[in-house]
Every structure is written in C-alpha cells, then in structure tokens.
C-alpha cells in the first residue's frame, strides 16, 4: 500500500517545546519524533513533565513555546485535522459514572460526530475486543478500575484514530490488568499500524522492541529503540537503563 504524504510523516513531531508554571520550568526545549505505527514509551519518574506534555498534545493547555505536529498537521493551526486522528486516555479517569458503558461510548461518538449508522456494531466490536461486551449495559460506577480503563481504551479507539495517547493508563491497576492493557495496545500497533505514545513510570511496561523517550526534569535524557539504547548504555534491561540515566542523578 502506498503511503500518503501525511501517513509518511511522523506520528508526532515535537520541536523546541517548552512550558513553565510561573517560574517553574516543566518542559525544557523538547524535540522528538514518534514514528508512525510504533509503540513509543514515554518513561519518566513522577514530576518529569509527562502529564504536562500530554495536556499540551491534547490542547487542554496552550502552547507557550515550540511546535507540535500530528501526522504533519500543526496542532495549533490545523487542530481539527490533528485532533480527529487522535485517541486519548487520560491519567485521571474521565468516564461518566452515572451512564452505562455503552452510553459513555455513544456520547463520545456524538462528540466526534460519528454517524449513527453502524455505530452500535462498532461499539459492540470494540468492547468485545477488550472483553467488556458483557458489561456494556452496566453503569460505569459498578466497574472496577481495570474494567473502567478498558472502557476508556475502547472509547479512545472508537473513531479508529491513527494515534493513541495514553497518560499512565495502568496506574493503580493490579498486575494482570496492567499486562492485559499493555499487551492489547502493543497488538494494536503491530496488527493495525496504530501509533501509540504511552507515558509511564513503570519500567516493566516497556519492551525491548519498543521505542523509548526518557524524560527527566522536563528534558529528554535518551531516545531511540529500547534495544539500541540498552546496547549503547551497556544495560541489561530498562530498569538498569532508567537507574543509570535518571536515578543516578543527584536530587536537586
């Protein structure tokens, strides 16, 4: 299949991005690329700037300096095109607890202007792929944290975005739920060409074949394919790499 101009472009292209809360710098002149069709982990300890970056990527916060392009579309100037190709899973749970799972997805579909025709099947298929179809008519309030996360992922993928942004989606979940979610997103990248940017501070969620951006104190400490980075820094695993590049730094 021939690639169109936009598809050939990077999934996310960030150039010279800086952000400060008053005098406190949260992001300091970041530039990086998230490749199309790849699972890219954005790894960093708490306070590294991951959520700030996500809020800028999702236009919740306004850019102060720098540029963000989504599949070649400037997020500021062509926000409609950029936002249409994006699915988002926020760190904070964002489902309406008093609506059912299906109603939450219907509401999201309306916000994205998805046509009614075929929508119910689309919702069922998406929920089914995350083993949540049986809970479709239950109120979200009745679901546990892991199941709520699955619903949020189903919702974020409902409009078939090319890019999925996930901000620490496994925080607070048990190990089986975490593994299931990590594995599901990897599968989406491998089989459907989804581009995923996965923010986390949990090193075991990053696989050797993934791409990695290591963020610390608002700036990038390393980026590239995990396997290459391990080799370059002579580390056995991501935990050792994280320790070498982040934890070894003196506390400010």
């Amino acid at each position: 299949m021939a690639l169109t101009e936009n598809e050939a472009a990077a999934g996310i292209q960030i150039s010279d991005l800086s952000y400060a809360y008053g005098a406190k710098k949260a992001l300091d002149n970041l530039s990086f690329t998230v490749k199309t069709g790849r699972f890219t982990a954005l790894l960093g300890p708490n306070g590294a700037g991951k959520s700030t970056l996500y809020h800028l990527l999702t236009r919740i916060m306004k850019l102060q300096a720098g540029q963000i392009e989504i599949f070649g579309s400037d997020l500021n100037r062509s926000s409609l095109t950029a936002m249409t190709s994006m699915g988002i899973v926020f760190q904070q749970q964002t489902l309406d607890l008093d609506l059912t799972v299906r109603q939450n997805l219907r509401y999201f579909a309306a916000l994205h202007g998805l046509p009614h025709r075929g929508l119910e099947d689309q919702i069922s298929n998406r929920l089914s792929s995350l083993d949540m179809l049986e809970r479709a008519d239950e109120k979200v309030r009745a679901l546990n944290g892991g199941h709520r996360r699955r619903v949020e992922i189903a919702r974020a993928l409902l409009h078939e975005p090319k890019l999925l942004l996930l901000d620490e989606p496994t925080v607070g979940l048990d190990v089986p739920s975490r593994k299931a979610i990590v594995s599901y997103i990897h599968k989406q990248c491998q089989e459907r060409g989804l581009t995923a940017l996965w923010a986390t501070h949990l090193v075991d969620e990053v696989l050797p074949e993934d791409d990695l951006i290591l963020l610390h104190r608002g700036s990038i400490r390393a980026q590239g394919c995990v396997a290459d980075l391990l080799k370059k820094h002579n580390c056995d695993d991501v935990a050792a790499l994280f320790e070498t590049l982040v934890l070894a730094e003196p506390v400010e």
């Binding site: 936009n6 809020h55 409609l80 988002i88 607890l97 916000l111 202007g113 009614h116 078939e160």
Partner: protein, 277 residues
C-alpha cells in the same frame, strides 16, 4: 505493516456538528432524568412560591394595572413569569455547578478534546442546559394550569423562543461564573451572592414601580439587573406582546455573557495538583 485508514476529515459537513449537539443535549437530559432529586427540587421550589408565598401576599400586595396586563391580575398570575425565570436561573446555576463537577471528575476533558471548535462545544453545553430548563418550565406551567392559573393559551407557544433566549442568557452567566470557581465546594457562594440577589432585585416578585416607591437605589439596581429584563421578556411573551426593551437588553446580555464565558473558559483550570507530572 498495515497502516490504519485515515479517519475521515469531517470539516465540510454540518452533520457532525448536529450529532455533537444532539449528543450533549441527550447526555444532559439523561443526567437530569437520573437525578430525581434535582428534578423534584426544580418543580417544588417555584410551586412553594406559587402556593404558599403568593397566597400569603395576595391579600397584602395590591397591584395596579401594569403592562402587559390590561386589567387587574391576581398576584399568583403576576409572579408566574418570575417563577419561570427562577426555574431558568436555578437551572443556569445548576449547569455551572455541573461544569465544575465535570471539570473535577475529568469528563470535561473528553468534551474539550473533541475535534470540533471549543466555542461550539460550549454553546452546545448551554443549549443542553436550556433544553432541560424548557422541560422544567412547561411541567411547571402544566401544574399551574391544573391548579387554575389562567394564561392565554397561545402564550404557551409564544413563550418557547423567549425561553431559549432567556435560558441561554442565564446559562451563559452560570458558565462565566464556573470559570471563576476552582472547586465544587466554592459553589455555595454562588447561591448567596448571585442567585438570591438576582432574584430579589428584580421584577419577579413585585413590579419595579413598587420597588421605586420604597427605594430609588433599589429600583436602579433592579433596572440594571439582566434577570429583570429576562422576567419581563417572559411576561410580555406570555401575553403575546413584545417588549423591545426587555428583548433587547436580554439579547444584549446574552451576547456579552456568552462572549465573556467563551473568552474566559480555561480548560487548564482545575488541573492544579492533578496532572502536573
């Protein structure tokens, strides 16, 4: 590698905008229906005023003929437009509460990350709140009719477009207020400093000339209150009359508050401590 199909760019057609509007109205309606307490309170509040307060004041308060009325009217009839305004005022403030709640619970992020323009999403929110207030108003009018409040039949129809303007205007005030409220707990202040003064310093309970008899200052405060004009706009519409002054001031207030609310709306608000990672 299989590349995902590009999602359709839905810029040129109107239907995504209408679907989005329908989705937001549907959700607001569903939430209202599920919140039985809110539904009952919305009806009980004006009915208490109508059945208890108005009955008590009927004897004490004499009203001379005031436009749009062409003859003497019972006090119960006089305060109906004010009570309709009260329903919409409370509903507008309730919408503002719901905006703050959505912001705290995170569901506002879902709304604001829709690809449609933010100003449009906020207007849809206002229209949704307004639609809910229309349902409340007409249920209230049906009960009033059942207990013998006599209003021109065509007035019920003529009222609908007016209620949209007044509902949007009061909703826009609520939305503007929500931009200043950081946390849900701060909402009690809105009750004390917005709803009560707006209601009592208006023509909802007594005509402005009556207010002028007791205090010139209070009269001017009432005359400058946008809620007064909303109530008068409703009153004239109910009697199939049009007050350019009331309609003009209400529409102007709508434009000013709506513009200010959209301008001031900051999705970043409420992120303190939640997401500075």
């Amino acid at each position: 590698m299989t590349l995902m199909p590009s999602p359709p760019i839905r810029r040129a057609t109107l239907s995504p905008y209408l679907r989005c509007l329908w989705g937001i109205v549907w959700r607001e309606g569903l939430r209202f229906y599920q919140q039985r307490g809110r539904f009952i309170a919305a009806l009980v509040r004006p009915l208490v005023w109508l059945l208890v307060f108005a009955a008590g004041f009927r004897a004490a308060l004499g009203l001379s003929i005031t436009a749009p009325y062409e003859t003497y009217v019972l006090y119960e009839v006089y305060i109906i437009p004010g009570l309709i305004g009260m329903i919409q005022l409370f509903n507008g403030m309730q919408s503002s509460l719901s905006l703050v709640y959505d912001r705290e619970m995170g569901s506002m992020k879902v709304l604001l990350t829709s690809p449609l323009p933010r100003w449009y999403l906020l207007i849809c929110k206002l229209l949704a709140g307004c639609a809910v207030s229309l349902v409340q108003v007409y249920i209230f009018l049906a009960i009033s009719y059942a207990i013998g409040i006599d209003l021109p039949l065509l007035g019920y129809l003529a009222l609908a477009p007016t209620l949209i303007v007044t509902g949007l205007m009061l909703g826009a005030i609520g939305m503007l207020l929500s931009t200043f409220i950081k946390q849900l707990e701060n909402f009690a202040g809105v009750m004390n400093f917005v709803i009560f003064p707006a209601f009592f310093l208006s023509s909802a309970l007594y005509p402005l000339w009556k207010m002028r008899e007791s205090s010139e200052l209070l009269y001017w405060l009432c005359a400058l209150n946008p809620f007064t004009h909303a109530v008068e706009f409703i009153r004239f519409s109910l009697y199939l009359k049009f007050s350019i002054e009331a309609a003009g001031w209400t529409s102007l207030s709508l434009l000013i508050f709506l513009g200010a609310a959209i301008w001031a709306y900051d999705p970043q608000r409420g992120l303190d401590g939640a997401g500075r990672g």
